[in-house]
Amino acid sequence: MVGQGRYLYAISRDLDPAALADVPGLGGGRLDVLEHRGLSAVVSDVDLEEYGEEGLRRNLERLEWLEEVARRHDEVVHAVAEHGPVAPLRLATICLDDIGVRRRIDEWHAALEQVLDRVEGRREWSVKAFAPRAAAAQPAESAAPAEGGAAYLRRKKAETLTRAQGEEQAMQVAEEVHARLSAVSEASRRLPPQDPRLTGHVGTMTLNGAYLVDASRGEEFAEAVRAAQADHPDAGIDAAGPWPPYSFAMLEQR
């Protein structure tokens, strides 16, 4: 039988349900706050036709569906973050009913407490850096029509070397920027570089960093970003945030 499931958005503490009264859940559903063992779970009803195993398999491959769910999930997490520490759940964490939600909380209780302690009063910033795009490669034929074979090979070798050095240098810049920002953060992570076809960026992404920054150190962090930008004007250093601490609150679900 397929019926309704409970979609789990986030875990918090001492969350007043009234705080979420104006925030719609997925499909316009009402958000409920389930209190269990000192934790507040934010949930809403979803149709298992859409969110059950078969539904997810089908729907996760539809970008419009995925974006809608991700955006709604994010809005709920943002709203919760306004009122207290938040441990966002991975997209599409679904239980059959409230009993199931409570069972999950029992199972993850210690980890949830740790996550909430770690992220309380802190937000996530994203900082990216890029390798400056190498000068457009000249087609060998048109560049040097009269060039001999040996000269051609020498030039190609030199070009390869220069490119390798450029990449090496860009990677070092990324390491250095990451180290500087990590020094003014409570925690940091390097996410895999993103594909330029998705982001429209030019050049190679050398740093896709996530930084957990304490509210009291926001200005210090911003200053570190500005200093890195000034030191590496070619690296395209780009900061965005503050966001809920997604990269530092994901629970491992096995």
Partner: protein, 70 residues
């Protein structure tokens, strides 16, 4: 989402706008946990690029376990 013109909005970060809308690609990076390599059943693609393989049984294990318990 196949034309190159449409790809840009995915990646526009809210650089100037503190706390503004997060770029979809950044959001999915985080919500789907691409920080770890997932051996997956479903490959999520944006603009023809494989973004992440989602371990579907991990996502829906909750429901499945409960279903079998009843």
């Amino acid at each position: 989402m196949t034309s190159s013109v449409e790809q840009h909005p995915l990646g526009r970060p809210d650089t100037q706008q503190a706390g503004g809308q997060i770029a979809l690609v950044d959001l999915l990076d985080r919500l789907l946990g691409t920080g770890v390599v997932l051996a997956g059943d479903v490959v999520i693609s944006l603009a023809g690029v494989d973004l992440v393989q989602v371990r579907l049984h991990a996502l829906i294990s909750t429901v499945r376990e409960e279903m079998t318990q009843r």
